[in-house]
């Protein structure tokens, strides 16, 4: 079996400690904000200048002075704040953001990440990705699929695309497994039911270690 993107997002949300300051990247990481468990509060940072970001604005109630880094109309929760760009990135660069959660093209066993550029004719655009991976205390990467559409591993020995940052990824979540990255390389801490270790290794471009307490990864029960 495989986890859906919603399952992965729910699992990521469940792994975030209450009270954490978290930056959610554009795309799949934004889903995490929809699954904050009822028993805790964490504070979402959006790099264009807000802490305490809430859900997307209701249709018809959008206020275009209140947007997230993806330029979508959002809301602010009680306890939130606004600040300018230099302060916002001071929070990131200064190590005040507990977890940055991003998507990526490739993550390497040494913690390198490539998520900003596929070389081509379009102008190179980086946004805040390089600041986030270099500055946040923890960097978690979400892959909706463990391999690319053509079956190539996204977790690799060395990145082939231009890097966003070096040695900065701490953990990878995919539809098949949760993998920690530490000084010894890749360590699988959970994998889906019915998947053989050799199968996961075959879909991964670098050597995997398996944690002694490697857990079964299944969709979390929906909160009642």
């Amino acid at each position: 079996m495989k986890l859906s993107s919603a399952d992965i997002a729910r699992r990521v949300a469940n792994d975030i400690a209450g009270g954490s300051y978290v930056n959610l990247g554009i795309g799949m990481p934004m889903l995490v904000g929809d699954y904050i468990p009822d028993d805790r509060e964490f504070i979402v940072h959006t790099e264009n200048g807000m802490l305490g970001m809430g859900p997307a604005a209701a249709e018809g109630a959008e206020d275009w002075d209140l947007v997230n880094a993806g330029k979508q109309a959002v809301t602010i929760l009680p306890g939130g704040s606004y600040f300018h760009h230099a302060d916002s990135f001071g929070m990131i660069r200064g190590g005040h953001i507990d977890i940055s959660i991003l998507g990526a093209y490739e993550v390497a066993a040494n913690g390198d990440i490539a998520n900003w550029l596929i070389p081509g004719p379009r102008p190179p655009a980086v946004g805040g990705a390089m600041d986030l991976v270099a500055g946040a205390k923890q960097v978690w990467v979400m892959f909706s699929s463990h391999v690319s559409k053509s079956g190539e591993p996204k977790v690799v020995e060395r990145c082939s695309l231009p890097l966003t940052g070096v040695g900065c990824v701490n953990r990878v979540y995919s539809d098949l497994a949760i993998i920690d990255i530490n000084d010894d390389g890749l360590q699988v801490i959970a994998m889906v039911e019915g998947l053989e270790r050799a199968e996961l290794q075959a879909k991964t471009g670098a050597a995997l270690n398996f944690a002694p307490a490697c857990a079964v990864l299944k969709p979390l029960e929906l909160a009642a």
């Binding site: 330029k71 300018h84 805040g128 500055g135």
Partner: protein, 213 residues
């Protein structure tokens, strides 16, 4: 004239506030386009979308170079066409490094070291130093001839407030230019001192534009 100042001439460097379509001083951009200047360097998070504001300024041929973090969007066709044709220069800068280079420019700091972009193509050619076992690259401050800022309210001393995330780059850019031009939605008698985000020392001229956005 709001835009009538000696610092605004061919080849000038212009800081342009805003993030996406939020907090962009579009009326000031339109006023500058009408001057028909050439070879401007524009420092802005994006390179303009649609067919208005910055995109129109670029289309008019006034811009020689963009310094941006994200010069690409679903509708950044005007910039992208000129870029593909080699008719406009681009310097891509990480968003936080861009903000800090401008902050440093306004605060009299000529350069600084950051871990952001170390080991990536955007560090090519930059000085690397090691502090406490970590690598950092040197980034230079940005100062400009003109800053264009969008604010919510302003008073006759130049004190400014901003609304929600329309603040973004505006207060940082207001500090880093020889002349700072501000469009405010509403002129007020006095911004309460505790609510001032940009102190008037950074502001040279203001224009009331109403709630057009």
């Amino acid at each position: 004239m709001m835009t009538d100042c000696a610092d605004l001439k061919d080849g000038a460097t212009v800081l342009l506030g805003g993030f996406g379509d939020t907090g962009v001083p579009v009326k000031l951009v339109d006023a500058i386009r009408e001057l028909g200047l050439r070879d401007l360097t524009i420092v802005s998070n994006g390179a303009g979308g649609g067919d208005y504001g910055l995109a129109l300024l670029i289309k008019s041929g006034s811009v020689g170079k963009m310094i941006c973090s994200f010069p690409r969007s679903s509708d950044s066709k005007i910039f992208e066409a000129l870029y593909a044709a080699g008719k406009i220069e681009l310097e891509t800068v990480p968003q936080g490094t861009l903000a800090e280079r401008i902050r440093a420019g306004g605060a009299g700091i000529p350069a600084f070291f950051t871990a952001t972009a170390y080991g990536t193509p955007l560090a090519d050619g930059k000085e690397v130093r090691e502090f406490e076992d970590r690598h950092y690259i040197m980034e230079r401050a940005i100062r400009a001839d003109i800053a264009l800022v969008h604010a919510a309210t302003g008073d006759r001393w130049g004190n400014l407030t901003y609304r929600f995330t329309a603040r973004n780059f505006n207060p940082v850019m207001a500090t880093a230019a020889s002349t700072t031009l501000v469009e405010v939605r509403k002129l007020v008698d006095m911004v309460p001192p505790e609510e001032v985000i940009t102190p008037g020392i950074f502001v040279d001229r203001m224009l009331e534009v109403g709630d057009y956005q």
